[in-house]
Amino acid sequence: MGADAELVIEMRDVDKSFGSVHALNKLNLQVRRGEVHGFLGPNGAGKSTAIRVLLGLLHADAGRSRLLGGDPWTDAVSLHRRLAYVPGDVTLWPSLTGGEVIDLLTSLRSGRGAPTNAGRRDELIERFQLDPKRKCRTYSKGNRQKVAIIAALASEVELLVLDEPTSGLDPLMEAVFQQCIRQAVGSGSTVLLSSHILSEVESLGDRVSIIAGGTVVESGTLAQLRHLTRTSVQAQLDRVPAGLSELPGVHDLRVEHTRVSLSVDSNELGKVLAALTSAGVQTLTSRPPTLEELFLRHYDQPGDPAPSPSADQQ
């Protein structure tokens, strides 16, 4: 019970098929209270399906899902009072103004009565530079997203479920968005942030789950995930040592004259360094992989191209 209590989202072995398409395949996802959980995956990986199961919009075929201590399907309405959702593809009512939609959504979320804190709403409208008097049909994608984001943040809820919320925002607005998320977390909210904007998750996320083919393939803190992965090494050498590509754990080898770049599984790093050193190192840089590299590795489905003899291709 003690360990469970701090889990805001818990999905265990969740399956969901649409006809012959397996959208979710024994999906496991745990989000702890108070964290920003990055939910990474390309289009079609099952992110939105998982989120829709959590929102009680889809009924899972198998497995167990818990959300804020309740069942997302049977307790949908009471749970929805405590969360706010920003869809990836926001469609609004063309004849309503942005301000009207914000007030409608916040009132519906609270269940009844006033559309929450008007001061907070106005402050958010100001910060996101939204013109609330314009009809939704005149909004761009980014502006429609702002409406949904403002409505979500104005609600001051326990859990924010954000499905690629910033795909239409410009970098300035993305910065505002990140500030607002940090503030929300500071005041105790938990955030599930699905994204393929990796820098966003990198700067906001406490923990990350990577989803591919309807399954979470890896999950953990950014530090833990990097630990599991390779190190990127670039070196300027006196000469290129023979058999570098045959060393265990070496991937993506590129040789350009005497300049070598490769990535290596962390547990094999020592042997590679030894080989490089013996070849006379002039410069050497090594760094942990960016999230982009993590990401690409997981979705490079056919597997890594074997370090080929034509290693000197550009």
């Binding site: 929805h80 926001v90 301000g99 009207e100 914000i102 009132s107 314009r134 049909r137």
Partner: protein
């Protein structure tokens, strides 16, 4: 590899085309438009051409000899109630009667086809953002509008040609046949041109169609005043493009110059649209959306639904109210009018099944009004289905809104709108019918009111069936219209085909048509109400149990 060179040469050739607006990419957009619109355009074509053909055949069978036709035409000329709706009769030949029956109606239908096609190919595309994607490719600024007009024009000219062919095949003279086809096509072109203008002026497809449709209605009404009798102000006809369609007088005077005038008007309207297009930005309009309130008073799903349905609801109520008044004025004149034709009398009696002809007519117009109201009921459920398929239902259901609350937000108007519209229609029909016969609130009033109100359970059954389809198999939604059309055909045509009663009973309509005017068929009404309740109950449970569709 000639395709690689084609675009640039296109630009060069056609940049001079419309003077201010380059037409590069026109051919591709035109083919694309025809492909996108092929089903609606084929449906319009079939509807109009088949109606003309059926009219020719019907007049041949109902009034085979000229004396009968002359008597029929004479009785109509003296009856403003009919000429207001269908226009004047210029000749009592079979062709002349066909032109009277289908000239105005066909022109109005062709006008609708023109309006829908042009707005869908222009403003709808801009509104959805698809036009922007296309505008970024090497396509001339005028190409989309030109392609839309060409699509509509192709279909309208095709309709005109087919109408002429059908008449000639039916044995009518070539000149009149060609002119009837021409007038229908030309009227369509005028309103296609008008829609091209409104599509520039308004920033939403709905407003553009609404404005063009309203002007079509106005045209119809203006010429209706002119046709309200021999004493009517005939010159008014010249203020309405549909009045021009009448003045062509196909099969009588065959005035070609009026057709030429109509085509000239269409060209002028297109020129206006082109001038407007040249001066505006993609996606914007001459009348930009006005800013609205920064804060909202909408707090609930019912509030939201009322806001989005109120315009539609008022339009349905007013339309059926007016239709009811017209029906009330017609029913009592039907007896004298139809005595000329034994065939038509028999047909109507079959349709309604009443002994007294007036009762049969009242029952028949009640059925037609009920069908219209059923369309309203199904459309309201259609709005719920659309709310789901466009992703807004997902946003609503992610808040503290239950499935039932969202669904009932639409099911309640599904019940209320047709009930209100039919009641208003019944009151209007009964009042007018009563005033013309036995006093405002006598038995005639009751008969008129009952003829309309007895249809309420029928519309509910169809609405509930639509709700069931949406709740259980949303992907089958279009099938509800097929079911509806099937029921209409069963009830309207089934008896004359002498289909077995059990098959006729499948249609909810069958149970309240017939001698419903004098006596309310309580059993049938009861059965339909129970069915409605059962269907709605299953729909509510079903919608709660299924997955919500996403975009």
């Amino acid at each position: 590899m000639s395709t690689a060179a084609a675009p640039s040469s296109d630009v060069d050739r056609s940049s001079a085309g419309l003077g201010i607006l380059p037409l590069a990419g026109f051919a591709a957009l035109y083919r694309f438009g025809l492909r996108r619109e092929r089903l609606p355009l084929l449906a319009w074509t079939y509807g109009i051409v088949a109606s003309v053909a059926a009219t020719v055949v019907a007049f041949r069978n109902l009034y085979p000899n000229p004396a009968e036709r002359a008597q029929f035409a004479e009785s109509l000329r003296g009856n403003p109630v009919f000429t207001v709706i269908t226009g004047p009769i210029w000749s009592s030949s079979i062709g002349g009667l066909t032109a009277w029956r289908m000239g105005l109606l066909g022109s109005a239908l062709a006008a609708l086809a023109g309006i829908f096609t042009v707005v869908r190919r222009t403003r709808s595309e801009e509104e959805s953002g698809r036009a922007e994607l296309l505008a970024s490719t090497p396509i001339g600024r005028g190409a989309a509008l030109a392609a839309a007009l060409a699509c509509a024009g192709t279909a309208l000219v095709g309709i005109g040609v087919l109408v002429a062919v059908v008449c000639v095949v039916g044995g009518e003279p070539l000149g009149g046949s060609a002119l009837l086809g021409a007038v229908i096509a030309a009227s369509g072109l005028v309103f296609a041109g008008l829609a091209a203008v409104t599509a520039q002026v308004f920033d939403s497809a709905r407003s553009a169609m609404g404005a063009a449709g309203a002007l079509l209605g106005l045209s119809f009404a203006i010429r209706g005043v002119a046709d309200s009798g021999s004493s009517g102000p005939q010159w008014l006809r010249w203020l309405s493009p549909l009045g021009w369609a009448e003045e062509v007088r196909a099969f009588a005077d065959n005035r070609v110059w009026v057709v030429a005038l109509t085509v000239a008007l269409a060209v002028a309207l297109v020129a206006v649209a082109v001038a407007l297009l040249a001066h505006r930005d993609v996606g914007l309009s001459l009348l930009p959306a006005r800013p609205g309130p920064a804060t909202g008073r909408l707090r609930s799903v019912p509030g939201l639904v009322v806001r989005s349905l109120r315009g539609t609801a008022i339009a349905w109520c007013l339309a059926l109210l007016a239709y009811g008044a017209v029906n009330g004025a017609i029913v009592d004149s039907a007896d004298g009018l139809l005595s000329g034709s034994a065939g038509m009398r028999e047909a109507l009696t079959q349709l309604g099944g009443a002994d007294v002809l007036t009762q049969a007519v009242l029952s028949a117009v009640g059925t037609v009004t009920g069908l219209l109201a059923a369309i309203a009921a199904i459309s309201v459920v259609g709005r719920l289905a659309a709310e789901e398929s466009n992703g807004r239902a997902e946003l609503l259901l992610s808040t503290a809104v239950t499935r039932f609350r969202l669904q009932s937000g639409y099911l309640v108007p599904m019940l209320l709108i047709p009930a209100a519209a039919l009641t208003l229609s019944g009151l209007a029909c009964g009042l007018v019918h009563g005033i013309r016969t036995d006093g405002a609130f006598g038995p005639a009033f009751r008969a008129g009111l009952q003829a309309m109100m007895v249809q309420i359970p029928v519309t509910w059954t169809f609405g509930a069936l639509a709700a069931l389809v949406h709740a259980l198999r949303p992907s089958w939604w279009p099938a509800i219209w097929a079911v509806f059309a099937g029921c209409v055909l069963l009830t309207m045509i089934g008896p004359s085909l002498q289909l077995p009663q059990w098959l006729l009973d499948v249609s909810p309509l069958t149970h309240v048509t017939g001698p419903a005017v004098t006596q309310i068929p309580w059993t049938a009404v009861g059965v339909l109400l129970v069915m409605t309740a059962a269907l709605l109950a299953v729909a509510v449970v079903g919608f709660r149990r299924r997955d919500v569709l996403s975009r």
